[in-house]
Subunit: 184 residues, 2 copies
């Protein structure tokens, strides 16, 4: 990932509506969870350099109560960079399944430990599945079905499928572990 994907995430989000750094953080956490993640340490510095590069503009909002807010909007140049990037082939997926790593070497732990790892994994995926399903229902409930909604829906469907497959696997894996223990 030599080409700073963070920048394109921010451009993509700002292509829809002006947002603050905080908004971006929240959006990434809720809507982009599972697809991509960003920390404050990436978001704020990147916004700053993007502004310098003329990809986005800033509007500072001072309010009587509450902290100031810096609302960023995408520029024409920013939009062009975004569409250029959209037309490039995507990098291959990066997955880091620490649970699989631990399971791969599970011969050195006791079956209860391994079973617990799988249960934790199942819990994480169940949460994900529910969040995705909720999100899908929100999309369904939208009064107008926009282009935006169509593509977001496609992405949500993959999230749902993968988390569903993960949950099913977890159930089967726990069962296999039981049988394995019994068969000793």
């Amino acid at each position: 990932m030599k080409e700073n994907t963070t920048k394109f995430v921010l451009l993509g989000l700002l292509s829809r509506r002006p947002l603050t750094g905080y908004d971006i953080k929240k959006t990434v956490e809720t809507r982009l969870d599972y697809v991509w993640d960003l920390s404050n340490g990436q978001i704020y510095p990147t916004l700053k350099t993007m502004e310098k590069e003329g990809l986005i503009t800033k509007k500072v909002e001072t309010r009587e109560n509450g902290p100031i807010r810096k609302i960023y909007s995408i520029t024409k140049k920013g939009f062009e960079e975004l569409t250029d990037w959209l037309n490039q082939p995507a990098h291959p997926e990066i997955n880091r399944y620490e649970i699989l790593l631990k399971l791969m070497f599970g011969e050195h732990a006791d079956p209860e430990t391994n079973s617990k790892h799988i249960q934790d994994f199942k819990r994480r995926n169940t949460q994900l599945y529910e969040a995705m399903s909720q999100f899908e229902r929100n999309l369904d409930g939208m009064p107008v079905q926009t282009e935006e909604a169509f593509y977001v829906r496609l992405a949500v469907l993959l999230g749902k499928s993968i988390s569903k497959a993960s949950i099913d696997w977890a159930e089967k894996a726990i069962q296999m572990l039981e049988e394995h223990k019994a068969g000793e």
Copy 2:
């Protein structure tokens, strides 16, 4: 990931048999593809520091033909660190789906581009699925079914399930895109 997971991948692999840095690279590429990835820039320096810490030992093999090989073996201390780590809960999964990122903002690209992204994704997952299936057959064909094989099989099953779900999604997504285009 403050706790250098690279170290535990190396310990895990070395817990089975002594390996060179090169062997480790190959094993990660073939057996751990999808679960975790490591580059030479991580493997060689980490092996060096692990040796200093007494987690592994090195045996240098000079051969008449071919380059020297440094064969690393796990120590008692290394094995203890490994099992300690195996007993800790796993960190949540990290996924970076650049394709989903591009699809999420797909309203700004033309449908052909989006369709191409999905086809690339399908191709990657088909390869993965085939590699995993092949690996599974190898496990089935093993004369003795060891503890090691059991846990590796569990991990392979998840890889298969997820890549299968991804392929199915890709097919459906391409179809949805066709209908979407037609329905304009």
